[in-house]
């Protein structure tokens, strides 16, 4: 089923999502991948503030190519999510609700998603040129030194994704 989602995504929105649903996201999302996750979890462990309040937010696992002078962003498809499995519980405990990436995740991660009633969405890998057309604003937020792995706030319109793990921990990959 196709569903439109507008950020901030509410708890009610999340309860309405079923594994296999196609969603189109409009609004603000944050980028973060391996490097930024490592630093954010270090910040949490050191009782430091995070570069942005993750409560109720969406994180997209992506390291885009640099924008050319006339572009908002370069190619920006998802990276593999499993590498973030060990960091996600810390961020979900702080209120993170939605994660977007590619590929399957650990059983433990599904349990964490169920515990905090979040959702994991799949974006299609290797179509970064097409996905870049959904991004209308791109602002640097933190960790500029990480280059492509810096945290950015993106404004997206109808960004396509598929519900892969729902709020009960059901997974699209467990079906196979």
């Amino acid at each position: 089923m196709e569903k439109k989602l507008t950020t901030p995504i509410t708890d009610k929105d999340i309860l309405d999502l079923k594994v296999g649903d196609e969603v189109f996201i409009t609004g603000q999302i944050y980028t973060a991948r391996d490097g930024a996750h490592k630093l954010m979890v270090e910040a949490i462990n050191n009782n430091q503030e995070l570069p942005f309040d993750v409560k109720g937010q969406v994180i997209y696992y992506v390291g885009p190519t640099p924008a050319k002078p006339h572009q908002v962003i370069g190619s920006c498809g998802p990276t593999s999510s499993y590498r973030m499995d060990k960091y996600s519980p810390y961020l979900m405990e702080k209120g993170l609700k939605v994660m977007i990436g590619k590929g399957d995740r650990s059983v433990e991660f599904s349990q964490i998603v169920a515990k905090y009633q979040g959702v994991y969405l799949l974006a299609i890998g290797g179509i970064g040129a097409k996905l870049s057309q959904c991004v209308v604003e791109n602002t640097l937020v933190a960790y500029e030194e990480l280059q492509s792995e810096a945290i950015r706030k993106l404004k997206v319109i109808d960004f396509p994704a598929i519900v892969a793990i729902d709020y009960q921990g059901n997974s699209i990959f467990a079906k196979q």
Binding site: P66, G77, K102, K130
Partner: protein, 290 residues
């Protein structure tokens, strides 16, 4: 004696990389179109449609197909009659650096695996050499993505294991990888040689043209058998099911030790970017060369 200018190599490496990040080989695109028709799974069909559409956007708007513009791997076939009075690897890396900086490609290389500090120009490339007769230099180049590389695997089997165990190892590798390496894949297989040679064979295999058929009968039969079995795994495009898990299997073999049966499988994602050029050396003599 023959010579190729350093500048020619730098310019060609840069050009090949900038072309390859936004353009796939026609036979790869044709294969996606054909696979799309063969798929009954609506999600698989829709993903293949988006992959084809992505290529159109990448081309028309000059945006890389994928944000992971890779670690550059390069195979050089060097004519024995060529003379180089400069560092050939440095020339290749200069071309890489210029492509990634001037072309706004992602810099995905870190200086040390543990300190993770970015080199800022995507150098160094991984460069392999071999020699060929004559005065030509053939450069095969591929910006290879990290996701599919991470799902590649190598195993030192025992000679008593045989073909069945090779097939099972490859099928297990692909099934376990699921959607992570971004299928539909091109599967490069190496068998034989030793520990490092077998990985080299598998890497070289993914750079063969999609329509290329190996002359070795054993390898050819293995390619056919693997293609059929891999596409029955129901991994499908992006691991969400379907009959299009791979669009090609390429097997390269080499003699090996009586005690060994090495096997390696190198996975290439659907963004199968590669390019090649043949440069012909100009004849030189000592006076010309000054």
């Amino acid at each position: 004696m023959y010579k190729i200018e350093r500048k020619t190599i730098v310019e060609n490496v840069k050009r090949m990389l900038l072309e390859s990040v936004k353009t796939l080989d026609k036979e790869v695109l044709d294969s996606f179109e054909k696979s799309r028709e063969n798929e009954d799974n609506p999600l698989a069909k829709s993903i293949l449609d988006k992959i084809i559409e992505n290529h159109e956007i990448a081309n028309s708007k000059d945006i890389p197909l994928c944000q992971d513009t890779g670690l550059v791997v390069c195979f050089l076939e060097i004519g024995r009659e060529l003379n180089f009075d400069y560092d050939l690897e440095d020339a290749i890396n200069t071309g890489v650096s210029q492509a990634y900086i001037d072309g706004y490609l992602r810099k995905s290389v870190v200086k040390h695996p543990l300190n993770r500090i970015n080199t800022l120009d995507n150098t160094p490339a991984v460069i392999h050499h071999s020699f060929i007769p004559g005065n030509r230099l053939i450069i095969h180049i591929a910006p290879k993505g990290g996701g599919s590389e991470n799902m590649s695997a190598l195993k030192m089997l025992s000679p008593s294991d045989g073909k069945e165990d090779i097939v099972n190892f490859i099928l297990e590798t692909i099934k376990k990888a699921g959607g992570r390496p971004c299928p539909p894949l091109i599967v490069g297989v190496g068998i034989g040689g030793n520990f490092e040679k077998v990985a080299w064979l598998a890497k070289k295999a993914i750079l063969r043209p999609l329509g290329d058929v190996t002359e070795n009968e054993i390898d050819r039969n293995l390619e056919i058998e693997l293609m059929e079995k891999i596409n029955k795994l129901d991994v499908g495009p992006m691991g969400l099911g379907g009959v299009t898990t791979c669009i090609g299997v390429k097997v390269n073999s080499y003699p090996c030790h009586i005690a060994s049966l090495p096997v390696a499988v190198n996975l290439q994602c659907h963004s199968a970017r590669k390019n090649e050029v043949i440069l012909v050396g100009k004849e030189i003599n000592d006076t010309d060369n000054r």
